[in-house]
Amino acid sequence: MRLLRISKQGRKALLFLAPTIALLLFFFIWPVLLSFYYSFTDMTLSGSKSTNYNFIGFNHFVRMFSDPLFRTSFANTLIFLIFSAIIGQLILGFFIALLMRNKNRHFRSFVGMTILVGWIMPEIVCSFCWVAFFSKSGTLNTALTSLGILSKPISWLVSFPMVSVIIANIWHGTAFSMLQFQAALDDIPADVEASAAIDGANRWQKITRIIIPMIKGTIMTDAILITLKTLGVFGLIYAMTGGGPGTKTTTLSIYMYRQAFGSYQMGYGTAIAMVMLILGIVLSACYVKFSKIKL
């Protein structure tokens, strides 16, 4: 990849990166650093501590260890992440992309479009659809009772809130993974699979021994991107359940919001956000290590 001499490259690269760096510094990195600083203070959104806040070191981070709500939201975040991102979006997306290969073009674009609708739908609209779907007199109950599966309607958002938001998030996000896998699968040369068939590999072996190793990079990139994205999911859950009932669907991003904007504890709220940042880094590092792929 050596197109130019390195010395010159560095300077040229900077020129290309300059607009991005300027934009990121001003609108992103600077506010992030400020948030980082706030997380070590007792700043509040209103009240006397809103202007006269103090530096309190690691107090917030120590407090988290004994904060049962923090522990609950941490656990909820992991559950939400594993089921909606990894099991849901990644595996379902891969499965759909795999099935879609070599299918009729019109059929492919029809199926693709139905899955994409959820993706391009604004979060808030998405949550209205799902609230209506899961509500006591909603679509799901109407269907299940008329089929005789349920004798009386269940209020899903109250009885199974986590399952409900996970399903909604899978619906909202699967298209992203599906599109990536479709592209990656298209790139697998036909002869590789053909030779595997000659060797007598069955369907399952073909997937695990040939296809997955070949698109390992895509799997990992996808895993990182959807993990980071799912960590930050806020609007969907907030509009569907508000993090409730109680704390049943309070993830870290909901808890962060409740602390910073609901209880005005800006300092503690930003400290929670910093934990989310660390969690994102740790998870991504795990994926990289696990898949032994260099980016």
Binding site: K8, K12, L15, F16, A18, P19, A22, L23, F26, T44, L45, S46, G47, S48, S50, T51, R63, D67, P68, L69, V131, S135, K136, S155, L157, V158, G242, G244, P245, G246, T247, K248, R258, F261, G262, S263, Y264, Q265
Partner: protein, 470 residues
């Protein structure tokens, strides 16, 4: 060719910088402020008054059918004010959002001179907090010279005080609370009407009878969903707690453990969990629970509703669910104290206020508007429009006000009224209450655990040294 790349990249950076500068350059002309130096915030810069003063007026706007806007429009409030005060213009800058988001966004806007509205509507539970932050203008000097101030009820004056005891707002309204109940449901269940429970047990008894008579009727609704924000703390939690003889804040400390707190959690648990006398959770926790319950009570599918008197506005001819001969269909009982006795009933009183931002450049003119809105006629009509009680003692002179539904009850219940703690941490304690109550009714948390949680969470927001155990 290297040059060209450089030029283009430079151009891009420049273009971006320019677009940013360009945005900021037209700013000073956009605002209402005169270009006076920011070091001089007080009266001295009023000498540079422009010909026309524009005051920004922010309020919480209900998207459709907003009651404040209806009052402003139909009573031509702003037109009349501007005609009486040439040179002052009022510009409306509403915030359309849920109640909780309104308080948050308002606090954020008030923190900066550029975004702070001059005049705004504020729920008095935020007054002490925002005053402590330095966001509110102190009105002590203004009310001292305002002859109408003596007509304001003492309880409402209490509500607009900061932690320092100074006045930070002019009350718009006040409100008492009690139990609305459907006459037909009660008669059918064999409960004598008009009904007035004398202790908590009698409320539960009525609910049990309703449930026993017709299981399809949901006996009792108390606000428990945290999306209702302050309603959970004030309408449910504090209405119970202050009837036990205990309070949230006593002797300068936050009470984190008391018999009253435990009994309050126990009552909520009993209604929603152990005896299942509350409305089902998919109603109680729905985002449109208010609408569902208002309709349910009018239709007789819900028996009782512990609510603010304002709720009655939904059933008047202009409301969402008009009920004919309202006072014969829905009754309004006082909330009894835990065991009755003296006092026999209790209500929390709160309400909203008009306030002036500490950043406001023209406080004298802003106060003129407040005084105008707060005069006898305007204040009375304002409370008629939003269904709350007038903060003034002379509103009953106005016929429409004296004729409104439940006015006798509303006023009578004010005899045993409490206001929420005037402390800047109240808003934070209140959000703890809201979450715990929702957790109590919707998870397997018990009343004892809820009381424990309350203790540890309040300690974590106000600090151990500011709490006491009874």
């Amino acid at each position: 060719m290297k040059k060209k790349a450089k030029v283009i990249a430079l151009f891009l950076v420049l273009a971006m910088t320019l677009s940013l500068v360009g945005c900021s350059s037209n700013n000073p002309t956009a605002g209402t402020q005169s270009p006076s130096s920011s070091t001089n915030n007080d009266t001295s810069n009023q000498t540079e008054k422009p010909e026309e003063i524009v005051l920004k007026f922010t309020y919480k706007q209900a998207a459709s059918n907003d009651l404040l806007e209806k009052w402003l429009e139909e009573k031509k409030v702003i037109e009349r004010f501007e005609a009486e005060n040439p040179g002052i213009k009022i510009e409306l800058t509403p915030i359309s959002s849920s109640e909780g988001d309104y308080a948050t966004l308002l606090a954020l806007k008030l923190s900066s001179e550029t975004t702070a509205p001059d005049i705004f509507m504020e729920d008095t539970y935020m007054t002490a907090t925002d005053a402590a932050a330095g966001y509110l203008a102190c009105l002590d000097d203004y009310v001292a010279n305002w002859d109408e101030w003596s007509h304001y009820l003492d309880g409402t004056k209490e509500a607009v005080k900061g932690t320092d005891g100074k006045i930070y707002g002019i009350p718009i309204s006040t409100d008492s609370r009690g139990i609305f109940y459907n006459y037909k449901v009660f008669r059918d269940a064999g409960i004598p009407t008009p009904w007035q429970p004398t202790n908590w047990e009698e409320i539960l008894d009525a609910a049990r009878k309703i449930k026993a008579h017709d299981p399809s009727i949901e006996p009792f609704y108390m606000i428990v969903g945290k999306q209702n924000g302050e309603g959970v703390s004030m309408q449910t939690f504090e209405m119970l707690l202050y009837g036990t003889g205990d309070q949230l804040y006593e002797n300068g400390k936050w009470v984190v453990k008391s018999k009253g707190l435990s009994d309050t959690f126990k009552f909520i648990e009993q209604v929603y969990k152990t005896e299942k006398l509350g409305v089902s959770l998919d109603v109680a926790l729905a985002s449109d629970v208010g609408a569902q319950v208002n309709k349910g009570l009018a239709d007789g599918t819900i028996g009782m509703y512990l609510a603010v008197a304002t709720t009655a506005g939904n059933w008047t001819s202009t409301g969402s669910y008009p009920v004919e001969n309202l006072e014969q269909v829905i009754g309004f009982a006082a909330m009894p104290t835990q065991y009755g006795g003296d006092p026999a009933t209790i209500t929390m009183c709160g309400g909203w206020s008009w306030a002036i931002s500490s950043h406001c450049k023209y406080k004298d003119e802003a106060f003129k508007f407040l005084a105008f809105c707060g005069n006898k006629e305007n204040a009375t009509w304002r409370s008629l429009y939003d269904g709350r009680m007038s903060p003034r003692d002379d509103s009953t002179d106005i016929e429409e006000y004296a004729m409104r539904p439940y006015i006798k009850e509303m006023t009578a219940y004010m005899a045993n009224a409490y206001v929420r703690p005037k402390h800047e941490s109240y808003a934070m304690v209140s959000t703890q209450i809201q979450t715990i109550v929702e957790e109590l009714v919707s998870t397997d948390m018990t009343a004892e655990q809820a009381a424990e949680e309350y203790k540890s969470r309040v300690i974590s927001v106000v600090g151990n040294e500011n709490t006491l155990t009874k």
